[in-house]
């Protein structure tokens, strides 16, 4: 089987401006939503109490909401969690009241209404922990960015490093934009997914850069644009298949992983889709505009590294 029967190199770079414009608009929208709507942060970041309760029959959310409201909590969120029988209640942190007291009080009230309710899970996070997590998250992001830029700069060239990180940070912002737009819950697991995506989509750029470097060595007569086009074209089949496979796994998590893994898988899905886009259309183009040349990549000018196994060599160069 072969999905990709491409006869000629696809002129990606000719349309680079269009692709980057699309990319920029998406990015701008994401930033806009991030600022206008903000992220819907989970209890882990904001502090507060989370309760998951389960009824034997479909739960009446309005009734639950009413019951909890009579206890005098402000800003209570009540929503279904996975199934109609499971309900998630989120209480804000209160000064002077421990989470045990909060959850006990809520449970007692719910039990009085419907004796069949059972407590499945509680989670309480103090406000100081939340701030720390946010700071640690940013530190981790900074570490990843610096680490990857350094590695790529050493392994390839600073122009590649910069363009890869720009392309992939733009993915991260777009994921965050989606979470802001749909007001999906942004939890620690999602943060982990975002950082994993960052590492993963840099992969993609690395594969293409690797090919660009190789092409510079092999095809001495091609100019930069042609080299890049050829590199992207010859790796596109691998790009799609790899991402497809990873997406199969993520889809499996989306289907079977339940509510807890839902947003984690969601973040990965968006990350994978935009990861392809940015690596293929954005990263290489930025490198091109930064002025990548053959000399940048092949510093000690070695003699043409021919492959003895490749009979076509002579014909091509």
């Amino acid at each position: 089987m072969e999905f990709f029967k491409i006869k000629k190199d696809i002129p990606f770079m000719k349309n680079a401006l269009v692709f980057n414009a699309i990319s920029f608009v998406t990015f701008a929208l994401a930033v806009f939503f991030l600022f206008s709507k903000g992220l819907h942060l989970s209890v882990e970041f904001t502090g507060g109490t989370l309760m998951e309760v389960s009824y034997t029959q479909s739960a009446d959310l309005n009734k639950v909401r009413g019951t909890v409201a009579t206890l005098g909590f402000s800003e209570v969120q009540v929503q279904n969690f996975g199934t109609a029988r499971d309900v998630m209640i989120r209480l804000p942190a209160q000064k002077g009241v421990s989470s045990a007291q909060q959850s006990d009080k809520v449970m007692a009230a719910l039990k009085a209404d419907a004796p069949d309710v059972t407590l499945r899970r509680t989670e309480f996070v103090g406000p100081q922990v939340g701030d720390e997590l946010a700071v640690d998250g940013l530190k981790a992001l900074a570490f990843v960015v610096v680490g990857i830029v350094l590695y790529l700069a050493i392994r390839f060239e600073w122009k590649f490093a910069v363009s890869a990180i720009i392309a992939n940070l733009h993915d991260v912002v777009i994921i965050l934009g989606f979470f802001a737009f749909f007001q999906w819950e942004f939890s620690l697991a999602v943060l982990a997914a975002v950082l994993a995506v960052l590492g993963y989509s840099v992969n993609e750029s690395v594969v293409i850069f690797d090919r660009i470097r190789e092409n510079f060595r092999r095809y001495r007569k091609m100019n930069t644009v042609e080299v890049i086009d050829n590199a992207i074209t010859s790796t596109i089949s691998r790009t799609i298949i790899t991402h497809g496979c990873t997406q199969i796994m993520v889809l499996s998590m989306l289907l079977f992983g339940g509510e807890t893994l839902h947003y984690f898988a969601m973040a990965l899905t968006i990350g994978i889709c935009f990861g392809i886009y940015s690596s293929v259309f954005v990263a290489a183009a930025i490198a091109m505009w930064l002025g990548v040349t053959r000399e940048d990549l092949i510093k000690p000018v070695k003699k043409d590294e021919g492959d003895p196994g490749d009979e076509n060599r002579g014909a091509v160069v």
Binding site: M1, K5, Q128, A140, S237, M253
Partner: protein
């Protein structure tokens, strides 16, 4: 060119063997068990305890599958939960004489059903996190500022009494935040005070702080001394928590320091958060009272008669009753420290108590009025009192430094000091994070994680087989081996597996296939360009390797960042993520090459390889020549 030397195959075989052995315990499931561990710092679990457990089981007519001593606990495995419960009762009766004061913790537990030879190899199933097995998780923050304040307060009291002893007059010692301010009258006193401070208070850093006409010294804790106080406070809090949790009868409690000032407590299987919290937050109280020396009391002590009005009967640690007055002289709040030591003159083991200023004052008055009488130090835990020690007052004791001596061995002195300290937490704590996960939710989470991994895995392998034929099958096998190694390493490290960890496992597999896709695409490309099959395989693997290395390292950078800065669920994710990347490099490149070499390598006149369609555009050089 596509042959591995024997040693490479040997590595593969050994790695596979290890992988299988360490993965195996995960398949045996769990059996009900009873676990016996020490309930007190002074009680040790050893082979003699093992003998007692075995005897108890024998006399109760309960047969255990395996009884073994593992580390500091004994585990007895049973066929069913019925026998498990019966056995627990029997062991409890045999080992724990007084249920209110348990020497051993006898708890129900689940242990792996894996055979003994696997246990001997230290192969154990993966350690499941709380979100997979149910239980309670707390994170407690120790108030270090309070610990320091307490210590500075104590030092202030000490300094006052030392200065008084040496007849050095000062104009007041005041605690100011974490420091002390000492006002003095003249330069001579200043010099004397300075020498006292430098000789007897090495913990303090002294600076001149004259303000106007006043002669003033300010002293603060040296950083290393402060650090030591904090370390000790944390250690003591952990010890105290250990003692308290022992009462809950939890089989495998986790009590760990996290960072500089935090303690994580995890109680698998415990559902009653309220009780757990109650026990964690409880303070044992210490009271100093006078011994009732009236004749009625003496008689009541000897013959066990009626206890006189206004007195209580408590047992000493050797079991002897002692009649103690109800009136409380001092409480544990006034006791700042208790340390074992030796008397400077007699070299006898002693326990040194340090009281705070208020306690010292009261203590001085009481001892002055009661020379020759006995006082009792009573420890109340769970509302039950026990006399820790009841020394005779020899003279008036001022200055808040109390020495308890007399016919003690070093061990006894240690125990007494521990008991006197055990009651109290060195510094107050606050719960800053709490999680409860029901047992059914844990089981569901396992199922969800397992389903995600297995369905994703199956679909990927199926796709690879269809798209790349034989090479796809090799990739599929390599992916399976990757999973095997991942599980084996997680089992070996006993790293905690959580639901995010399982997600990371799924993701690791999804990403690992990338390497094989890269290789397979490269081999196809070589074939497309007209290379011979053997050369194509060789070049495909060789050329793909650099790319695979680069891309895995960038992914690993992200993994390491998560590991370094993540906490809780993120850490669980990061551990599996990082291990997954490392195992994938081995399985996808080294192992799959081994398979390919084994299959194709020996065929000299290989006509073609089964790698799916190798599509060529019309005119074979069309792809490249432009």
């Amino acid at each position: 060119m596509n042959r591995y030397p024997v040693w490479k195959y040997a590595i593969i075989v050994i790695a596979l063997l290890l992988g299988v052995i360490y993965t195996l315990p995960n398949f045996f499931g769990e059996a009900p068990a009873v676990q016996v561990s020490s309930g007190k710092a002074t009680v040790k679990v050893d082979t003699s305890t093992l003998q007692r457990v075995e005897d108890a089981l024998k006399s109760a007519g309960v047969t255990a599958q395996v009884v073994s001593l593992e580390g500091a606990s004994i585990r007895a495995r049973f066929e069913s939960t019925d026998t498990q419960l019966k056995a627990k009762d029997a062991i409890q009766k045999a080992l724990v004489a007084d249920p209110a004061d348990p020497q051993y913790v006898v708890a129900l537990n689940l242990v792996s059903r894996s055979p003994v030879w696997l246990n001997n190899l230290h192969a154990a199933p993966m350690y499941l996190g709380l979100d997979l097995r149910g239980g309670v998780h707390f994170m407690l923050q120790v108030d270090m500022k309070a610990a320091l304040t307490q210590r500075v307060e104590a030092l202030a009291g000490d300094l006052r009494s030392v200065l008084r002893e040496k007849d050095i007059r000062h104009g007041g010692i005041v605690r100011n935040g974490q420091g002390l301010e000492i006002r003095l009258r003249d330069a001579q006193q200043l010099a004397l005070t300075k020498s006292v401070l430098s000789n007897q208070f090495p913990e303090l850093l002294v600076t001149d702080a004259a303000s106007g006409a006043d002669i003033q010294l300010s002293a603060s804790m040296k950083p290393e001394a402060a650090r030591k106080v904090q370390e000790q406070a944390l250690k003591q809090n952990i010890t105290t928590l250990h003692n308290r949790i022992n009462e809950l009868g939890v089989a495998e409690p986790v009590i760990q320091q996290q960072g500089l000032d935090r303690i994580v407590v995890q109680l698998p299987g415990v559902q009653d958060t309220a009780k757990a919290k109650d026990i964690l937050g409880r303070t044992a109280t210490l009271e100093v009272r006078m011994v009732d020396e009236s004749t009625e009391a003496r008689a009541a002590e000897r013959e066990g008669g009626l206890v006189p009005f206004g007195a209580d009967r408590y047992l000493e640690r050797n079991g002897q009753p002692l009649i103690v007055k109800k009136q409380v002289v001092l409480t544990g709040d006034n006791l700042t420290d208790a340390q074992p030591g030796f008397d400077s003159q007699t070299q006898e083991p002693v326990v040194n108590l340090t009281l705070d200023a208020k306690g010292a004052r009261i203590f001085k008055d009481v001892t002055r009025d009661n020379v020759g009488k006995r006082m009792a130090i009573v420890l109340f835990e769970k509302g039950k009192g026990e006399v820790v020690t009841a020394p005779v007052i020899r003279s008036e004791i001022g200055g808040g430094r109390v020495q308890i001596s007399g016919r003690m061995t070093t061990v006894e002195a240690n125990d007494t000091a521990l008991l006197l300290r055990a009651g109290s937490l060195a510094a107050p704590m606050e719960i800053i994070e709490e999680r409860t996960i029901g047992p059914s939710l844990g089981a569901e989470n396992i199922a969800k994680g397992f389903n995600s991994v297995s369905w994703g895995f199956l679909v990927i392998v199926a796709f690879m087989c269809v798209y790349y034929m034989m090479f796809g099958a090799f990739s599929g096998i390599a992916l399976g081996v990757n999973l095997l190694f991942l599980v084996a390493i997680l089992s070996m490290l006993q790293a905690t597996l959580t639901l995010p960890g399982m997600a990371a496992m799924a993701l690791a597999l999804g990403m690992a296939i990338d390497s094989n896709v890269l290789i397979n695409e490269r081999v196809r490309e070589e074939l497309r360009n007209g290379a011979s099959p053997q050369a194509a395989i060789h070049a495909g693997y060789d050329r793909a390797w650099a790319t695979i290395l680069d891309s895995n390292i960038t992914t690993l950078i992200a993994g390491v960042a998560l590991l370094a800065f993540g906490s809780g669920p993120v850490r669980g994710f990061a551990v599996v993520h990082c291990i997954g990347i490392l195992t994938s490099m081995f399985s996808a490149v080294f192992f799959s090459r081994g398979l390919v070499n084994l299959w194709y390598g020996s065929k000299k006149k290989l006509k073609g390889v089964s790698i799916g369609t190798v599509w060529r555009a019309e005119g074979s050089s069309a792809v490249k020549a432009d």
